[in-house]
């Protein structure tokens, strides 16, 4: 033991100890300070995140995806709740030693398997591994069935709710409405174009949770989800279904590959029907295949004779001919620039009006020789050929309209009767709005809006009026489309029957046709424009546009006139005098 002799000596020793203690304290302080810096600065974010994860549970709140409706409010797409039935293998037990309890468990199991539409052995297999706490027993269970299952009161059975897109109208509107993918985002059609508006915005809530993960109930922040907007289309479901059914009948009767139809409101440019047959089931799971596309906007074909009225309109507009001018179509065969142009038969000398009425290729070619390539090409562009329609539909194509400077004489001639170029059906329908609107091309739309749509002047009202008279003659009994007539109404239009192009060897497939008709009515005050095309009908059962597409036009137009209460303008005076009483359930008022 150290013996301290004096007070001075005592303090000397104390100083040494003091220094040691101070150094130790300083060292500890430095360590603590360093640790504080480490935690507060370098690991701040990580620790805060961990803390939040331990105390809080973030939950996404999903918005309702908006509905898609037709112009009259009929439902076309809606998100519906469906359930997945989840089983806790550790908790579910269908065995008991007590006979009474066993009888009850057997009954529960029988009811459960019956509601889930599965065999009891399959249920046992799924629940075999007792370590699995969440086994999906069945998905896509309706709310009614889910309620029945939950009422069984089986311990360990729960239900997870998800939302699935449901399309009540199925095939007829499938191409327009489209569908969503497994992630809930639009994949095709309106679902894709309007995905952002339909989807809405996710919300969020943050719950405070206890150590046992139980939600205590207090919240830190909350953001309510913003439901998606409802989208109202210009489509009229009644007319859409009518067009689809008419197409189905024709395609099946003539064993064609497919058919498409587009119906427009000539006054507003709104698409009232746009459908294709065959279609697909948007509620199914295998939405693949060649009939997924909306062929009215994605597929092109040579418009053929439906172009003839446009080349004639150019000649009328430029005062090169009048509607009564005579054209010599000869014996039905005409050699031009080394190539033969043919008609169905020899028409001889006919009027310009008859060139359209009988659809003479020679007549059209001869008229086109009187107009310049630049005038013809410019007019075709003004009618909307070679340009997208502006509805921004996924996969829409512009068709082909070659630069007129590269046209040879024969190309110029062939363009006048719709060969050597291509267009979509919707372009063809839009082009004919010019004849229905006193010479103005209507911008078309698929989504209802109050935006101002400005029409473009293409023809003078006089030329347009003259063209209407000429086009009306096509539906006369001796025209090419008498079957397009609508009882009680005056309708006008033009047939088109073209060879299909050979995609492999080039040139044409002379036994495969595209049969089309595009028309409008009532002629007195045109309200509707409709274009129909039938792809590759069986030749022996008839293939002309007037025979195949004409009746589809007639059937749909008749319904359109009736449902939109349009005045009949096609009855003869005598007929009208005989029918001038008011009809009311067989009784005279």
């Amino acid at each position: 033991m150290i013996k301290i002799k004096s007070r001075k000596e005592y303090f000397e020793l104390s100083r040494a100890r003091r220094r040691t203690v101070l150094i130790l304290l300083l060292g500890m302080f430095i360590i603590l300070f360093a640790q504080t810096i480490k935690l507060a600065v370098f690991e701040k974010n990580k620790l805060q995140k961990e803390s939040r994860q331990r105390q809080h549970r973030e939950l996404d709140l999903y918005p309702y995806r908006g509905k898609i409706l037709d112009r009259n409010g009929s439902l076309l797409a809606e998100s519906t709740p469906i359930y997945s039935i989840i089983g806790d293998a550790a908790e579910i037990n269908f065995k008991s030693k007590d006979l009474n309890v066993q009888a009850k468990l057997d009954s529960q199991k029988k009811q459960l398997t019956s509601l889930l539409r599965m065999r009891p052995t399959d249920l046992d297999k799924k629940l075999k591994n007792k370590k699995r706490r969440a086994v999906r027993l069945k998905k896509n269970i309706s709310p009614d069935t889910k309620i029945k299952i939950m009422k069984l009161g089986i311990k360990g059975i729960s239900a997870n709710k998800i939302y699935k897109r449901f399309y009540p109208e199925n095939g007829p509107v499938a191409h327009v409405v489209g569908f969503t993918g497994s992630d809930g985002n639009g994949q095709e059609g309106i679902e894709r174009i309007m995905n952002k508006a339909l989807a809405g915005e996710k919300g969020k809530k943050i719950n405070l949770i206890a150590r046992d993960k139980r939600v205590v109930g207090e919240f830190q922040a909350i953001k309510l989800p913003k439901d998606g907007e409802d989208i109202r289309l210009t489509i009229d479901l009644r007319l859409q279904n009518e067009a689809y059914n008419a197409l189905q009948k024709t395609v099946e009767k003539h064993e064609a590959i497919s058919g498409s139809a587009v119906l427009l409101d000539a006054k507003t440019g709104e698409i009232l029907a746009m459908t294709n047959y065959p279609s697909f089931n948007p509620n199914g799971y295998n939405k693949v295949g060649k009939f997924i596309k909306n062929r009215a906007v994605t597929d092109v074909f040579e418009p053929g004779s439906t172009i003839k009225p446009i080349s004639l309109a150019v000649a009328l507009e430029k005062n090169i001919i009048t509607k009564d001018s005579l054209i010599d179509t000869g014996n039905g065969k005409y050699k031009y620039e080394g190539k033969w142009i043919e008609d169905h038969k020899a028409y001889g000398e006919i009027t310009v009006k008859d060139v359209i009425k009988v659809s003479s290729n020679i007549g059209s070619a001869k008229i086109s020789q009187k107009i310049s390539s630049i005038n013809l090409a410019t007019m075709l562009k003004k009618f909307g050929y070679g340009i997208k329609t502006g509805i921004n539909f996924p996969g829409e194509v512009r068709g082909t309209l070659r630069n007129h400077t590269k046209w040879k004489k024969i190309d110029h001639s062939r363009a006048s009767y719709g060969y050597g170029m291509s267009s979509t059906l919707i372009q063809t329908a839009q082009a004919y709005t010019v004849f229905a609107n006193e010479g103005k091309l209507k911008p078309i739309s698929l989504i209802k809006s109050n935006d101002l749509k400005i029409s473009k002047r293409v023809l003078s009202p006089e030329t347009s009026k003259a063209m209407l008279t000429i086009l009306e003659s096509v539906t006369d009994h001796d025209g090419t489309a008498p079957k397009a007539k609508v009882y009680g109404y005056r309708v006008a239009g033009k047939t088109g029957t073209t060879w299909k192009t050979d995609p492999v060897n080039g040139g044409y497939l002379r036994d495969k046709y595209m049969s089309s008709f595009v028309g409008l009515g009532p002629v007195t005050n045109p309200r509707f424009v409709m274009a129909v095309v039938i792809d590759e009908p069986l030749k022996k059962r008839g293939y002309s546009g007037g025979t195949l597409a004409g009746p589809v036009f007639s059937r749909v137009m008749a319904k359109a006139f009736e449902w939109y209460s349009l005045d009949a303008d096609g009855l003869e005076l005598e007929e009208m005098q005989n029918k001038k009483e008011v009809y009311a359930d067989k009784r005279k008022l």
Binding site: S74, E78, E218, I222, G488, K579, Y583
Partner: protein, 85 residues
């Protein structure tokens, strides 16, 4: 001394108020959550009803009912009369 006492009382009041507000917030949130769940359930019900309505109001169904149950028929051309304006 007096001031300290007053501050102490004020402190107690604030403490109690804080506890009270926290409790109210919790119960209000629980209520809000409950109402949100009800809203969602009602929306689901509305969806199902809308689908049912859409299915019942299909033209084919209306026509079938009109023909079979109400014995209605589309008038023929002979039965129609035209109103001349």
């Amino acid at each position: 001394m007096k001031l300290n006492l007053i501050l102490f009382v004020v402190l107690i009041i604030f403490a109690l108020t804080t506890v009270n507000f926290k409790h109210q917030t919790r119960s209000n949130y629980a209520e809000l959550d409950e109402e949100n769940k009800k809203t969602l359930d009602l929306k689901d019900q509305q969806t199902m009803l809308r689908i049912e309505e859409s299915s019942e109001s299909r033209i084919e169904k209306i026509e079938k009912t009109a023909k079979q149950k109400l014995n209605m028929q589309v008038p023929s051309k002979k039965e129609k009369r035209v109103i001349i304006r």
